[in-house]
């Protein structure tokens, strides 16, 4: 995938059926406590919107930002850079306040972070 590739329609299962989304929820639960599936009802719809925007399901996004090398899971630097840029571009298109844009972008960043992909975004507010 590159930035110039047209977005494709994608069939998505319910997000919680993806391993990477369950990993994300487990990470949120472990770190912050509470029930991440219900405490913020916007979280999953926002993430689904990103998946549809880039034409990738959640597990594919993780595959494109990580790889297995010599039996170890590693971060794909180019993949991470590409997604960092895609997230920024996408959150810029969100209507509303800067806080709202940040929330949309950070939702996707949170998904990657809890799947082991370190990603910093700078101050968003």
């Amino acid at each position: 995938m590159n930035e110039n590739e047209p977005h494709t329609l994608i069939d998505l299962k319910p997000l919680l059926e993806y391993d990477s989304v369950r990993t994300w929820m487990d990470g949120l639960r472990q770190h912050w406590g509470g029930d991440p599936e219900t405490e913020d009802l916007e979280r999953l719809p926002i993430f689904e919107a990103f998946c549809r925007q880039v034409g990738r399901d959640p597990d594919q996004i993780v595959k494109e930002t990580t790889m297995i090398k010599n039996g170890q899971r590693r971060i794909r630097i180019q993949g991470r850079n590409r997604y960092a840029a895609l997230i920024e571009e996408w959150q810029d298109t969100v209507e509303g306040s800067r806080f709202r844009k940040a929330k949309w972008g950070n939702t996707v960043r949170s998904f990657l972070i809890h799947n082991g992909v370190l990603l910093q975004s700078g101050i968003q507010t």
Partner: protein, 262 residues
């Protein structure tokens, strides 16, 4: 602040107040402390480039804001980038050792003389050392000591500090440093936006696991009276607790304040 408390209060601060500038004189004090650090053969390998974030050009700033460092460089008002100048030993050729002889730091009582430096130390030890694979590692050890003194001085000045590693190749280009300088770590400096204790002293392995007495395998005996004394002196402080609700609440607040992912 008393010395032991400075050690006890130091934390790797990761949430800085980005809008509160750091006084230039405090940065100078950190650098002065680094310059006075112990250093093998008095070579002084440590070099630093101080970057005040407000003075960075847009191009410099955007190149430093990589996906792994964007928040670090955004939040900290000052970045001190440290390098190891590997060329220094061949440039000074033992002259700083002879300075030490002249001021009485190295004396004939311990076998030192100008002649020893000129005929043995430089040509037979130092110069060959610079060709060996261990040279960058050994010299970097001393730069680390200098950086530590700078870190602690920052704490003593009421600042938050954090040692991080940025992209060395980018640093060399952005700050146009000489080819022979090896990029090391960066000290981020600013006033903490988080509580100064950052949730408590960080976890450390047990004392007895790290230190031995007489020979390997015999742990150095840790005297409880000494640790109590160090608690009173605030060097040993309350340890951070896993999943501490107070700390989690603080990070949540900071994440909301700066718009950070959770």
């Amino acid at each position: 602040m008393e010395f032991k408390e400075v050690i006890g209060r130091r934390r790797s601060i990761r949430f800085f107040d980005p809008d509160r500038p750091v006084e230039r004189e405090k940065i100078q004090k950190m650098l002065e402390a680094a310059r006075l650090a112990s250093c093998a053969v008095n070579a002084q390998w440590a070099r630093a480039v101080v970057a005040f974030r407000k003075d960075l050009t847009d191009d410099q700033f955007s190149r430093l804001k990589t996906p792994v460092a964007a928040l670090n460089v955004d939040l900290a008002p000052v970045h001190i980038h440290w390098f190891n100048d590997l060329s220094v030993v061949k440039k000074i050729k033992g002259s700083r050792l002879k300075e030490l002889v002249d001021v009485g730091a190295l004396a004939p009582t311990h076998g030192w003389s100008h002649k020893f430096v000129d005929e043995f130390v430089y040509p037979q030890i130092l110069e060959p050392m610079t060709e060996g694979p261990g040279y960058p590692i050994a010299s970097t050890f001393d730069v680390g000591g200098a950086m530590t003194q700078a870190l602690l001085t920052g704490v003593d000045e009421g600042l938050g500090v954090c040692l991080v590693t940025l992209n060395g190749a980018v640093l060399k280009e952005v700050f146009n440093v000489p080819e022979e300088w090896i990029p090391l770590s960066t000290i981020l400096v600013g006033y903490p936006a988080e509580s100064w204790d950052g949730g408590g002293q960080r976890p450390r392995p047990p004392f007895e696991e790290l230190y031995h007495e007489g020979a390997y395998g015999t742990p150095f005996r840790r005297d409880a009276a000494v640790t109590e004394e160090l608690k009173v002196a605030k060097m040993i402080q309350e340890p951070a607790k896993p999943h501490d609700p107070k700390r989690i609440a603080e990070i949540r607040r900071l994440a909301e304040q700066y718009g950070l992912p959770m």
